[in-house]
């Protein structure tokens, strides 16, 4: 039982990182109908930036700076490579983000160098006792930070006109333009936010074990997460992230005993298995809005 | 069935041969909205039957029910003597039901030619393999189909646009292409949803002409929905008027035109 709970909490920890990443994807998708494959690069860039800055400014300041920095980078990318594509087929844009990912990652790898880099977080692997359970502090930190950020985002989309503008722009850019929505601004906004979120997520990924040139792969976990939650739903992204994290963690702990025939490390693909199961029941994920069609 | 087919012809037809299409007490609602509420009518062979009514009255919904896009909660739809309720749209189409759409639903990236050829889809018999190889059968059938399509292109005067992607065509031409696509299906019944909406007079007159030719010379019965009263009242043999999904009146143009309910619900005092 204790084991289950601990595994569960680990899942929530990792899950909240997936959730942050998923939010980035969803925000960009909401505004542009594009899945930005550049997110992994921004994530790792954020972590690496922190690992350098932390030595100078200390951890928390470093996270703040790196978040702004990466948001800036994302904005620049959007302006240069994405903005010209307003009104273009989304898959072309998706491939462009892929090219961006390649470029950014090469640059970032240059800053990683040969060694594993440490983000210099204050939590390390220290656990806190918590109702008899040993819970790593960083998981608590991840969970809380995510909660706060999500609340802020929801407030933003709820209480400004940009939430609506994004959906409108995503649905039909030309018409949105005709309503005076500056699609460019909407794009920039979404990329900026997504970049920042990726940076935070990256930092958390770096806690405990550091960052190396392969860490970016973790960002792909967000893809099944956003499908589970529904591509265009912020709430869905969070739910999806947590679900994926928890299921994955439980599978890591128990599949070996319960279902060895699935092969070792089935955990690696559980996110996708979960995704398929959800889609069999709900073609638009848990909270995604169905495509509206009538003739 | 020959030209000039006005009311009497249709009436006589109604007596003589069984109707092509019958709709009985159909009811359809969406999350509270009653789109259709107890609509019944029958279309006789070679009849030109019109459905009119205010916006949101349920005209398009009726079309969607008949062509299998919507599944009504109650009622029955019989086409060529078969009950088609709940059949997949493509099977109903294969039976010979063709329609056009209110907002042009063409295949935008395809040329006029391909759009028309697609109308003939279910007339082809060859399969993937002979398609890949383009041997005998595929080639033969494609050529034959092309010949029929060219007739329609001539008939609708689309020759000039033959190779244009339809998305670049002016609205009016697109409407004509859609009509052509429906004709290419060699339908037993043709349903037109607002064929002249957004057309100027000239084009409206042409469209009227085409509709009459289709009915008179090809003997294809037509169900017509439009808001252009001039057109409807001139062409239709009979008119069904809907309001809020309910039938308000059914009769010859002359009858419904002066029906106070219709005037009040629909016509208003507009030009």
């Amino acid at each position: 039982m204790k084991g289950v709970l601990e595994s569960l909490i680990r899942g929530l920890g990792n899950g909240s990182v997936y959730a942050l990443l998923a939010l980035g994807f969803v925000i960009i998708y909401k505004a542009t109908r594009v899945i930005s494959f550049a997110q992994p690069a921004f994530m790792i860039a954020g972590a690496v930036a922190v690992s350098h800055l932390a030595q100078v400014t200390g951890f928390y300041a470093a996270v703040l700076l790196s978040t702004l920095l990466i948001a800036g980078v994302a904005l620049a990318v959007e302006r240069i490579a994405i903005r010209p594509m307003v009104g273009r087929p989304v898959f072309v844009v998706a491939i462009i983000t892929l090219g961006v990912d390649v470029v950014v990652r090469v640059v970032v790898n240059g800053f990683i160098g040969l060694d594993v880099r440490q983000v210099g977080d204050p939590w390390g692997l220290r656990p806190v006792e918590f109702a008899g359970l040993a819970v790593q502090q960083r998981w608590v930190a991840m969970f809380l930070t995510t909660a706060v950020l999500v609340t802020l985002l929801f407030a933003f989309f709820r209480y400004t006109r940009y939430g609506l503008a994004m959906r409108a722009a995503a649905f039909d850019q030309e018409t949105a333009l005709a309503q005076g929505v500056s699609v460019g601004t909407v794009f920039a906004l979404s990329w900026g936010l997504a970049g920042g979120l990726a940076a935070v997520a990256g930092t958390f990924v770096g806690t405990g074990q550091g960052v190396d040139q392969l860490t970016w792969i973790i960002a792909l976990k967000a893809l099944p997460a956003i499908i589970v939650g529904g591509l265009d739903s912020l709430g869905g992204a969070v739910t999806g992230g947590l679900v994926i994290g928890v299921v994955e963690s439980l599978v890591q702990s128990y599949q070996g005993d319960l279902a060895p025939w699935l092969g070792q490390n089935f955990a690696v693909v559980t996110p996708y298995a979960v995704m398929l199961l959800v889609l069999l029941v709900r073609p638009y994920g848990l909270f995604g809005t169905p495509e509206v069609e009538r003739v | 069935m020959t030209a000039g087919g006005g009311g009497p012809v249709a009436a006589e037809a109604r007596g003589a041969v069984p109707p092509v299409l019958t709709v009985e007490d159909v009811g359809l609602s969406f999350a509270g909205v009653k789109a259709i509420d107890g609509v019944s009518f029958a279309v006789a062979p070679a009849e030109l039957f019109a459905v009119i009514g205010p916006n949101g009255a349920g005209k398009t919904s009726v079309f969607n029910v008949i062509s299998g896009v919507y599944r009504p909660q109650r009622g029955a739809v019989t086409f060529l003597g078969e009950d088609v309720l709940g059949r997949a749209p493509h099977r109903i189409a294969a039976m010979g039901l063709a329609r056009t759409f209110q907002n042009v639903e063409l295949f935008h990236n395809l040329t006029v030619l391909d759009n028309l050829m697609l109308g003939r889809h279910h007339h082809f018999g060859y399969g993937p393999l002979s398609a890949l190889l383009w041997l005998g059968r595929a080639r033969r059938e494609e050529l034959a189909a092309r010949a029929r399509v060219e007739d329609i292109i001539d008939f609708l005067e689309l020759a000039a646009w033959r190779r244009h992607p339809v998305r670049l065509l002016p609205y009016g031409v697109q409407k004509r292409v859609e009509l052509g696509r429906a004709l290419a299906m060699e339908p037993r019944l043709l349903m037109l949803d607002e064929p002249v909406a957004g057309m100027n007079l000239e084009e409206t007159e042409d469209m009227a002409r085409y509709i009459l030719d289709i009915r008179d010379e090809l003997g294809i019965p037509v169900v017509l929905v439009d808001h252009d009263m001039g057109l409807v009242m001139d062409l239709a043999d009979r008119v069904l008027v809907l309001d809020f999904g309910r039938p308000v009146a059914l009769g010859t143009p002359a009858e419904v035109q002066h029906d106070p309910k219709v005037v009040e619900a629909y016509l208003g005092g507009a030009p």
């Binding site: 491939i95 690696v268 | 063409l106 697609l118 494609e142 007739d151």
Partner: protein
């Protein structure tokens, strides 16, 4: 019909045809015939190129077969699939297993004839396609994309676990043996070097697959695919069964993918389950988009572009004196190579979103309206 059928010159057509069969021919214009002739000529002649280039091009041709396949399901039928790598893998392993050495470390049945393993690979992949289609048919746009991506990851897992078939990650297995009527294409022979034989083989196969695809595209099936892509409701209402055709699209596309997979590794002679990953799928998508959606010639161009790009970027840094070959410094040539790869893709698509095919269209449109500049 009221109007009698006439094979007359249609108004508004610049070219005169005396029969529909001419008008509907694959190469309906003289220009196309000439161009194709020239291109094929060049392709054949280039078998005189150095071996390493031939190997590269042979690979590009195989990739083109795969890209055409992806274009069928994604370009024509509009079902965006990131799962292509999976179907490629199915083909690769089917072929490798069939032609593999029965006594060997990994599964093999020792039937080396291409006539057996190539179709088998295609069919196995097609079958896989048919299996996933029902789920795919319910999904739209990027949902489908990510699900098919999931297919790649699940597949990767299976292939890594099933080491009796694949040899396992980091170890791998020998690929299918390209043997036809006793002739080995993967060995130097009287007819030419290994590279030359492979090159010609792939060239011929590419032509076959490309022509077949063009035929498909202009057939009722190709049209039905495009109809589904453009407006599925309308397609169904005019008589196109959606699910059946989506399934068909996946099947045919996967068949192409399977054959491509079977052939691809005969060139290296060896492959590893790690190869069939997201990157591969993405590269196929890139080929399709860069080449131009829903065009066979585009897919080929795209495949050449993507496959040759790394080679190109290898040469470029040589022109930039300031970058060092010292691998410990940043930036060094190798990093620049990778960066250029990404950069060129971005630039290209930003400036010509319709892909190489778009370039061609522009050029042609301009030519058509010459001498008027509009």
């Amino acid at each position: 019909m009221t109007v009698t059928r006439r094979a007359r010159r249609p108004a508004g057509r610049p070219l005169l045809y005396t029969s529909y069969s001419q008008d509907m021919a694959l190469l309906d214009t003289r220009a196309k015939k000439v161009w194709l002739g020239v291109l094929l000529g060049v392709a054949v002649l280039s078998s005189g190129l150095p071996d390493d280039l031939l190997i590269l091009l042979a690979g590009a041709y195989v990739a083109a077969i795969g890209a055409i396949g992806l274009n069928i399901v994604t370009g024509y039928a509009g079902q965006v699939s990131l799962g292509h790598a999976f179907f490629v893998a199915v083909g690769a392993y089917t072929a490798a297993a069939i032609s593999g050495d029965p006594g060997g470390r990994v599964l093999g049945f020792g039937i080396t004839s291409m006539l057996v393993w190539l179709p088998a690979a295609g069919l196995a992949a097609a079958l896989a396609g048919v299996v996933v289609a029902p789920l795919a048919a319910r999904l739209r746009g990027l949902y489908l994309a990510v699900v098919t991506l999931g297919l790649v990851f699940l597949g990767e897992h299976v292939f890594k676990e099933w080491d009796h078939l694949t040899g396992g990650p980091g170890v791998g297995r020998p690929a299918a043996v390209p043997e036809l009527f006793g002739f080995r294409f993967d060995a130097d022979s009287a007819l030419g070097t290994r590279a030359q034989s492979l090159y010609m083989l792939m060239l011929v196969l590419l032509v076959v697959f490309a022509v077949a695809a063009r035929n498909l595209a202009r057939s009722r099936i190709g049209r039905a695919f495009s109809a589904i892509r453009d407006r599925d409701i309308a397609a169904e209402v005019i008589g196109v069964p959606l699910t059946r055709y989506k399934t068909l699209a996946f099947a045919i596309s996967s068949f192409y993918a399977g054959c491509a997979g079977a052939l691809l590794y005969t060139i290296t002679g060896f492959f590893d389950p790690g190869s069939f990953n997201l990157l591969m799928s993405v590269q196929f998508i890139a080929m399709v988009l860069i080449g131009g959606v829903a065009t066979v010639s585009g897919s080929i161009a795209g495949a050449l572009f993507i496959t040759l790009l790394p080679r190109l970027t290898q040469e470029l840094p040589a022109l930039l004196p300031f970058v060092s070959g010292d691998t410990t410094q940043t930036p060094n040539v190798f990093q620049i190579q990778v960066a250029l790869y990404g950069l060129l893709i971005v630039l290209f698509l930003v400036f010509e979103p319709r892909g190489l095919f778009g370039v061609w269209i522009r050029a042609r449109a301009y030519w058509r309206s010459w001498p008027f500049s509009y």
